[in-house]
């Protein structure tokens, strides 16, 4: 495991923005009984972007609201990391565009990271690592995805599961905070478990990329659509997520009962509950935002913080563990403390 212990950086705020257009699984699920689908996945509805709205648009709105609440000046922000698998363009990097659109100065460090479900945890390690020696005082981590854009409407393994969201996490150099600690992993043997086959440079887009193919019951998609091997993702998640959380608890010498919130990537209720049960965690310590948002990729952890933990984040000091796992395969867990942070109400646009 890659273990990181980062001093002197604190999360000062978190915000999230989702598109207001909702798709109800109760109405639109067409591969059998929608109630049993909802019961097992926990996903009742998804927020879906229109064609014109990109992940960065959602993240920028989330960031603006958060900066306003924090009363941070734009030119104080010296680092921005954007983590997504749905950037604006193949190139240039979206973080440069965001730097300009947010009105941040040209003295800002800007970087894109391409990760999905583990993205928020990974990017948090990256930006706090950059900030730990104090030369950069304030940073923004923007984390989001609009996965609905490449889910085939005839694919039951993706279409009813993925929603869209953009989030912002504000970080500040502070010398009086406890360290953030990270345990991080990667397993590229599983790179085909969650994949879009074409459109990169291994398999460039061709006419064949657009050809719909049937893959068994309820799955028709083309090579530009998201492909997800649900069974393999499940076996990966229930084995690796509990392990990395235990690893982290061991490293920081804390027990489960010392932690206020365990915020897991929101995959689906069936998988997330298996993970929770394996760790013997109390339900009240493990919030879910699945019901209204589904799986929002790298937005899922900060979105869950905003959606489920907002009042306590604003009014108290908390010890938290975040755990992301998925596409890559990539997974990791982070221990972080928060103290009366800013957390604006969820934004819908």
């Amino acid at each position: 495991m890659a273990y990181l212990r980062i001093n002197n950086v604190a999360i000062k705020g978190v915000s999230a923005c989702v598109p207001k257009t909702i798709r109800e699984n109760r109405d639109s699920y067409k591969w059998g009984n929608s109630e049993s689908f909802i019961n097992s996945t926990g996903i009742e509805r998804l927020h879906i972007t229109d064609k014109l709205t990109c992940t960065s648009d959602l993240c920028i709105i989330a960031a603006e609201r958060l900066l306003d609440e924090l009363n941070w000046e734009r030119d104080e922000i010296n680092a921005i990391i954007f983590v997504t698998q749905t950037p604006d363009y193949v190139l240039p990097a979206t973080s440069n565009i965001i730097q300009s659109k947010l009105g941040l100065s040209q003295d800002c460090y800007a970087l894109d990271i391409s990760l999905g479900c583990s993205g928020w945890v990974y990017a948090l390690s990256a930006i706090s690592g950059l900030m730990q020696n104090g030369t950069i005082k304030k940073g923004l981590l923007l984390s989001g995805d609009t996965i609905s854009k490449f889910c085939a409407s005839e694919d039951k393994s993706t279409f009813p599961l993925f929603g869209d969201a953009g989030t912002a996490t504000a970080l500040e150099y502070c010398e009086d905070v406890n360290p953030m600690c990270f345990c991080m992993h990667s397993d590229g043997d599983g790179f085909e478990t969650i994949i879009i086959r074409d459109g990169g440079y291994r398999n460039q887009t061709s006419q064949l990329s657009f050809a719909d193919k049937t893959y068994g019951n309820g799955i028709i998609r083309n090579r530009l659509n998201l492909e997800l091997d649900g069974m393999s993702v499940f076996s990966f998640g229930i084995s690796k997520a509990p392990k990395v959380v235990k690893e982290l608890l061991g490293k920081i010498e804390k027990n489960e009962s010392d932690i206020d919130f365990f915020i897991f990537h929101q995959a689906n209720l069936f998988m997330n509950e298996k993970i929770r049960e394996k760790l013997k965690l109390k339900p009240e310590c493990v919030p879910y935002s699945l019901k209204d948002f589904g799986n929002t990729s790298c937005a899922s952890i900060p979105l869950t913080l905003v959606n489920c933990c907002r009042e306590r984040l604003k009014s108290s000091s908390l010890k938290n563990i975040g755990c992301g796992f998925g596409v890559g395969l990539s997974w990791g867990a982070v221990y972080f403390e928060t103290s009366n942070i800013k957390c604006p109400e969820l934004i819908e646009i």
Binding site: M231, S232, S235, I238, K274
Partner: protein
């Protein structure tokens, strides 16, 4: 003697595996299942049962099976053999 002994253990293991396997279905007559059962042809088979089997194997045997392992298995015995080969 050794051969006889190991056969017995195998028999016990597969019986136990079938019992755990049957428990993953909401309602199924477990006497209907044996090692030759082509499990994906059962009317009760579903993607949720598949996930429950994966979870059962993880819990009971501490073994990780993937989608391909389920897809490439026909009978319960096929899956049992995969699990057995990976028990640490």
């Amino acid at each position: 003697m050794t051969l006889y002994h190991s056969l017995n253990i195998n028999e016990m293991e597969i019986t136990e595996f079938i019992k755990h396997f049957a428990e993953q279905f909401d309602e199924i007559d477990s006497s209907k299942l044996n090692q030759e059962t082509r499990f994906k042809e059962l009317t009760e088979w579903s993607s949720l049962v598949a996930l429950s089997i994966i979870a059962m194997v993880d819990e009971e045997y501490d073994v990780r099976i993937k989608g391909d392992d389920i897809r490439n298995s026909t009978t319960i015995f096929d899956l049992f053999e995969i699990v057995k080969s990976r028990v640490k």
